[in-house]
């Protein structure tokens, strides 16, 4: 079947009457005397008013033909090869969940899709979800249809260049507001208080007024009236205590896309971590751990989040298999004092912050033959010479074991500020995250809340990159013919001029 890639070029055919008219209106080049005018009866005629009407220069046909060929060529006609199967690509963007006329955009699009697929008759249909990464190229052996409202810029731009054969495009509403961030962090001055930051954004064409509510389960902790301009993001902050269970931020009243009006954080993620400290550990270490704001010392050794043990040998460190209840484990090797004189160097994969300075006089050298004799895979902290200072192991999926040879019994070291900092860093290492000033955060992309439907051009409209595969294109031959016609016209003009000069 013949199809046109850029059919709007055919509007240029409307210029053909103008071409004829222009050829009719041209002024005579000269006056030529003849012996008998009646012999030249096929010349111009006179209209009813007696004005002479010059018949158009016959060259107008040649030029109109040229213009026709040119415009048809620009319309890019192609003979479709035809497909017997269709792949339906579905846009999973949140905007497809916008409720319009009682149903989501996705549901409306599916209804339209069913209707159009029924018109196709017998074709094989497959559906694919547009997940990242988006495909580089569409399979032209099949028809490619897209179900999308075009609100997602990334998908829209990809679709424009991919060249879909058909786009089912639902969508009417353009305005949407959303809670785009809910973040909680411990108050640095009061470990029992948490600071909550809530962000709300508005995408659309007009100003909106919404109510932002912050709830603990069903209880409203605070609410704000927000007046938002298109593209504006507003932030609100409150403080909550540690008894909160589930913190929720919601926007009301409901808008077309309700899914993004809510963000929630289970508060137990912020409760103090349970630490059990072994009997052999020095008191200064126990004190340092008890002062850690994110830790809570427990006397029960049966369960908890972190087990701290101390011993003289590395082998005494418990493994995940022997103690499955603990998430993390810190083992302090307290062997004979053997201060390391060399400056420590962080192995690249070591998780500790390189800015943390540890006095070298308090480091002990302990030989761990099992690590030195084979290639070390785990992150370690080394002195400049051989001795290992710290090693991080992860024997199970959730277990972290940190072994260190730092002398935590040293009184001089314990009096220094870096002592508590090192303990906190080791705790972070054991948990694999920042426990001292952790921020729990739920957010959504501000650009992702846009629901404004935007046109996605189909293949015969888009500047598709791989049009060459779309079928047999005819614009090349048509352009060649049109160039030949205009060249012929120019040649005839040249010949006529030369003949006129001779005469």
């Amino acid at each position: 079947m013949l199809s046109l890639m850029h059919p709007w070029w055919l509007a240029g055919l409307g210029l053909i009457p103008l071409i004829r008219w222009l050829h009719r209106r041209q002024a005579p080049l000269s006056t030529h005397q003849v012996s008998a005018l009646f012999l030249w009866g096929s010349g111009a005629k006179e209209d009813e008013a007696g004005h002479s009407q010059r018949p158009p220069d016959p060259a107008w046909r040649r030029r109109a033909f040229f213009a026709t060929l040119l415009f048809v060529a620009l319309a890019s006609p192609a003979i479709d090869t035809g497909v017997d199967s269709v792949i339906v690509w579905i846009d999973p963007s949140p905007s497809m969940q916008v409720i319009e006329n009682g149903e989501t955009r996705l549901a409306a699009a599916e209804r339209a899709l069913d209707s159009e697929l029924a018109d196709l008759g017998k074709v094989r249909i497959a559906s694919r979800l547009l997940t990242s990464p988006l495909p580089q190229k569409l399979d032209r052996q099949h028809g490619n249809w897209l179900v999308s409202d075009g609100a997602n810029d990334h998908i829209r731009e990809w679709a424009q260049t991919s060249g879909f054969d058909r786009v089912i495009q639902p969508g009417v509403f353009t305005d949407n507001s959303a809670v785009t961030q809910l973040a909680i962090r411990r108050d640095l001055n009061d470990p029992g208080v948490f600071q909550v930051l809530v962000s709300a954004s508005h995408a659309g064409d007009s100003r909106t007024e919404r109510v932002l509510s912050i709830l603990d389960s069903a209880e409203v902790l605070d609410s704000f009236e927000l007046r938002m301009e298109p593209g504006q993001t507003l932030h609100r902050q409150i403080s909550v205590n540690m008894n909160t269970k589930t913190l929720t931020a919601s926007l009301g009243p409901a808008d077309p896309l309700r899914d993004d009006d809510l963000l929630a954080i289970p508060f137990q993620d912020l409760r103090p971590l349970q630490v059990h400290i072994g009997e052999a550990c020095p008191g200064r270490l126990r004190t340092a751990l008890s002062l850690h704001p994110a830790l809570s010392i427990t006397s029960t050794s049966a369960s908890g989040d972190l087990q701290v043990t101390c011993g003289t040998e590395s082998a005494s460190a418990p493994t995940a298999a022997s103690d499955p209840a603990f998430v993390a484990h810190l083992h302090f090797v307290q062997g004979e004092s053997n201060p390391v004189a060399a400056e420590p160097v962080w192995f690249p994969q070591a998780g500790l912050n390189g800015a943390l300075q540890v006095p070298t006089g308090h480091l002990r050298a302990v030989r761990w033959p099992e690590f030195l004799d084979k290639a070390i895979q785990e992150p370690v902290l080394l002195a400049k010479s051989e001795p290992l200072i710290l090693i991080l192991r992860s024997p199970g999926s959730r277990k972290f074991i940190v072994e260190t040879v730092i002398d935590f019994q040293n009184t001089g070291f314990a009096k220094q500020a870096s002592y508590a900092g090192l303990v906190a860093a080791l705790v972070d290492l054991a948990f694999g995250r920042n426990t001292l000033d952790s921020v729990v955060r739920q957010s959504r992309n501000v650009e992702g809340i846009a629901i404004r439907p935007q046109t996605v051009l189909v293949r015969n409209q888009a500047n598709a990159a791989d049009q060459n595969n779309a079928g047999t294109h005819l614009y090349g031959p048509l352009l060649l013919i049109s160039i030949f016609v205009i060249a012929l016209d120019l040649l005839l003009l040249l010949l006529m001029r030369r003949r006129a000069r001779h005469e």
Partner: protein, 294 residues
Amino acid sequence: MAHSPLPEVELRRFAAVAAPLLQGVAASGYGSRSARNRAGRGLEFLDTRRYEPGDDYRSIDWRQSARTGNLVIRRYQEDASSDWLICIDRSASVAWGRKKWPMTISLATAISYALLHAGHRVALVFWSDRVHSKTELGRGTHHFAKLLRDLVEHRPQRDPVYKLVRPSNLGTCRSVVKRNSNLFVLSDFLEPDGMQRDLKDLCSRSASVNAIQTLDSSEVKIPARASLDLQDIESGEARPMVMTEHAEQDAAAALHAHNDSLQKSCRSMNVRLTSCDTDQHWQQILLRHLQPGA
């Protein structure tokens, strides 16, 4: 004597050839009289001479031929001379191009010379939309000099203002044509009706009418331009024209049809018409015209 546009030697040679032929194109009538001692078509015996190739077999004197053993033909005395009016179209259309008017003058000169040489009386009439001048009938060398002066002095009429549409009007010669005189009409006959009505009118008044149509082959050619105004050289009427590949062919076809119609009409009126092109030689044209059965 005005300088002749044609060499006298050629004129004399032509007159010798044309003299017997002129008998065929003229009709004797009122005012005609015998041309003494001139061989020609007549009833009065003149003499005999030996047969020469080209002589009419019917003129052979069989009795005398048997007696002498050679073929002898009988010659008769030219029995009449006629009055001839040479009507010359001097309208602007005859001035078109550079060849039509000189050709017309050459033809008129040769015809005049030949007619005078054959003993006829000749007068010239110059006409366009009206009769401009007419010389009186006369014969002899002096009269030829007078005719020649008229021929040289006259120029085609061109109205530079073109205020009035004034087509050629052959009918205007009616007033100067005597009954039963013989006419030679020299014109391009480029009027929409081909001057057929006027020719018919003149035929009714004249003993014989001969017409020579002078045309220029480039008359149906126009410059190869996309668009131009055509202007009638006689009337000044202008008309926008768009040049096409077929425009000249169409004009040539129109001219052909025009001539066909004129030819047919002349045949029905018993008018001997010869169309000629300016590229042809005047002798060739006139001899073709004077040939019996032309």
